[in-house]
């Protein structure tokens, strides 16, 4: 009995030994930064020294038009880009699933391919593609679709469109693959039964396919929302740090600029990042509720 207990405690010690390296790294590079940010957020920086200002950074934020605009842009990108992308991905997945047999593999591979590029590569490519005298404008003018070149990178409205185009190109195939996996797990007999009952194709889509795919669609919404809330690489490279006139400024780009480029004001930037955490947390909470406490698939 005594021997049994000491063996159990040996196993327990070995368990701790296994997780220790991970926990040490976690404490250093996750827990400590989180805790120390509680200090930074109350400080106002002047050069290398800082003074305590309590909640002053949060008060300042309320009058910061650029930050409010940046948050607004995050929400615009979410509200416009995510629905377009999810719809497209779903549409392509449904077409791939029922209309082609031999072509399915190659087509899926091709449409997924943008997912192998990094966000930096996407930004660099689209910035070359969308110059005022660039390829896309030349193509559109050549086809007589437009007369004057579009200012993809210089016009506040079109710059937003540019970011949305780049994100959609990068992520549609990625989401489509998950939808396709979801579609293939639906039992074909359900459709056969619907066919016998005389349900039209569109009715099958809205009353069978979409309800059964809902968990996968929600998963894609969760990841896309949190990704868009942190949008950084594209506006920082593609539209040169949120240009023109802050029309593509996002919260992440603004925080980065406040902390590391413009002011070196770490306290204020930390306070701004708290807002991003809070908003992400609210979204995550709502979406978890929608998923109904479902266990993650993996």
């Amino acid at each position: 009995m005594q021997k049994q207990r000491s063996y159990q405690s040996y196993l327990n010690r070995f368990g701790w030994l296994c997780v220790t390296p991970a926990i040490v790294l976690f404490c250093l590079f996750m827990l400590y930064p989180i805790l120390s940010s509680l200090y930074y957020v109350t400080q106002k920086w002047r050069g290398a020294t800082s003074t305590f200002i309590g909640l002053g950074n949060f008060v300042r934020m309320l009058h910061d038009q650029v930050f409010l605009q940046a948050l607004g842009n995050n929400f615009i990108f979410m509200a416009v880009q995510i629905p377009i992308m999810v719809f497209l991905a779903l549409f392509l997945a449904v077409l791939l699933n029922q209309e082609v047999q031999k072509l399915r593999g190659p087509l899926r591979l091709a449409i997924f391919l943008p997912s192998v590029t990094s966000l930096v590569v996407v930004s660099v490519l689209f910035r070359m593609l969308l110059q005022t005298n660039g390829m896309l404008n030349n193509l559109l003018i050549g086809a007589h679709i437009i007369k004057e070149p579009i200012g993809w990178l210089s016009d506040p409205f079109w710059a937003k469109v540019t970011i949305i185009l780049a994100m959609t190109w990068r992520w549609t195939g990625y989401n489509m693959v998950f939808f396709l996996v979801g579609l293939q797990s639906i039992d074909p007999q359900i459709y056969e039964a619907a066919e016998v009952d005389g349900a039209s194709k569109s009715r099958q889509l809205f009353q069978i396919t979409i309800p059964l795919l809902l968990p996968v669609i929600l998963f894609s919404l969760v990841t896309s929302t949190s990704g868009t809330m942190q949008l950084f690489d594209e506006p920082n490279i593609l539209t040169q740090g949120g240009q023109p006139y802050n029309s593509t400024m996002t919260a992440a780009v603004y925080i980065y600029r406040q902390a590391f480029l413009v002011n070196g004001n770490f306290g204020y930037a930390t306070a701004l990042s708290y807002v991003v955490v809070l908003i992400s947390g609210i979204f995550a909470f709502i979406q978890m509720r929608l998923l109904g406490q479902r266990e993650p698939d993996k």
Partner: protein
């Protein structure tokens, strides 16, 4: 019935739409390869037939933009992160899963909870921490925080769950030590899991931009993403040479994807930050 469906209008339209989507998806890849052979003006104008300047662009990428150095920097950082990350995270996943304890489960839940914290929220205190440790402008600054990944621990733990505990018991009876059970029995049977985790860790580092942008200050320490973004910020841009850098930075990921599609998709699943 089947012959009618085969050539219905709806089917033809569907195929056209899919082919169009595939063409739009592939086009930039075609363009980046063609771009490596063109002079800068033709890259921007949108010439789509191969030119004759590949060697010139290659030389510019190598000498003007120092491509080999940045490629090796990126590779070194990614490979070290993968190796250390696999060891640390798989060991942790094994400990959490195969040696059940309430205390460790609480720790595990805390790890999971921090997964929702966006990167931008911790880069400022992290920057202060690395400044304090005098590790700014080193590759260690990029590698160290990326080794431990709560997502990978979670992912590997799920997979360790499927490994039968009876086999571990049998090995104990045969006198195997706990560590050799992990190293010689459990790990070798989980190759697919390790491959997915390795791909996830590799992609995260190979593509990482924000954190290196903050920590790396000197030219010779840069990674490929930093190089591409600083080339884009210059006054005159050698677009042909830039296309060479773009191709080189896409290539390893493309090879990984084409050679291990299944593990790649599994590894990607968690990689939206």
């Amino acid at each position: 019935m089947s012959t009618v469906r085969k050539w219905s209008l709806a089917r033809i339209i569907s195929i056209i739409i899919l082919l169009l989507a595939a063409a739009i998806s592939i086009f930039p890849f075609y363009w980046m390869v063609i771009g490596t052979t063109l002079n800068p003006n033709d890259v921007i104008k949108g010439v789509l037939t191969p030119g004759k300047e590949f060697m010139l662009n290659w030389k510019k990428a190598v000498s003007t933009y120092n491509l080999p150095l940045y490629f090796l920097n990126s590779l070194k950082i990614a490979v070290l992160t993968v190796v250390l990350g696999l060891i640390v995270n798989s060991l942790a996943a094994f400990g959490f899963e195969k040696y059940p304890s309430k205390a460790r489960d609480k720790v595990f839940n805390i790890l999971l909870l921090t997964m929702i914290i966006p990167q931008i929220a911790i880069v400022i205190p992290m920057f202060r921490l690395f400044a304090f440790m005098r590790l700014l402008n080193t590759h260690a600054a990029i590698i160290l925080p990326a080794i431990m990944s709560p997502f990978i621990v979670f992912f590997m733990r799920q997979n360790f769950q499927m490994f039968p505990t009876e086999i571990m018991e049998a090995a104990r009876v045969d006198g195997a030590s706990e560590f050799s059970i992990f190293w010689r029995i459990v790990s070798p049977s989980m190759q697919a899991t390790y491959a997915s985790a390795a791909i996830y860790l590799f992609l995260g580092q190979w593509n990482s931009y924000l954190w290196p942008l903050i920590t790396i200050l000197s030219e010779n320490m840069k990674t490929l993403p930093l190089t591409m973004s600083s080339v884009m910020g210059a006054y005159t841009i050698e677009y042909g040479a830039l296309m060479v850098i773009v191709c080189i930075s896409v290539l390893p990921v493309l090879i990984l994807f084409l050679s291990m599609q299944k593990q790649f998709v599994a590894g990607l699943l968690g990689s939206i930050k």
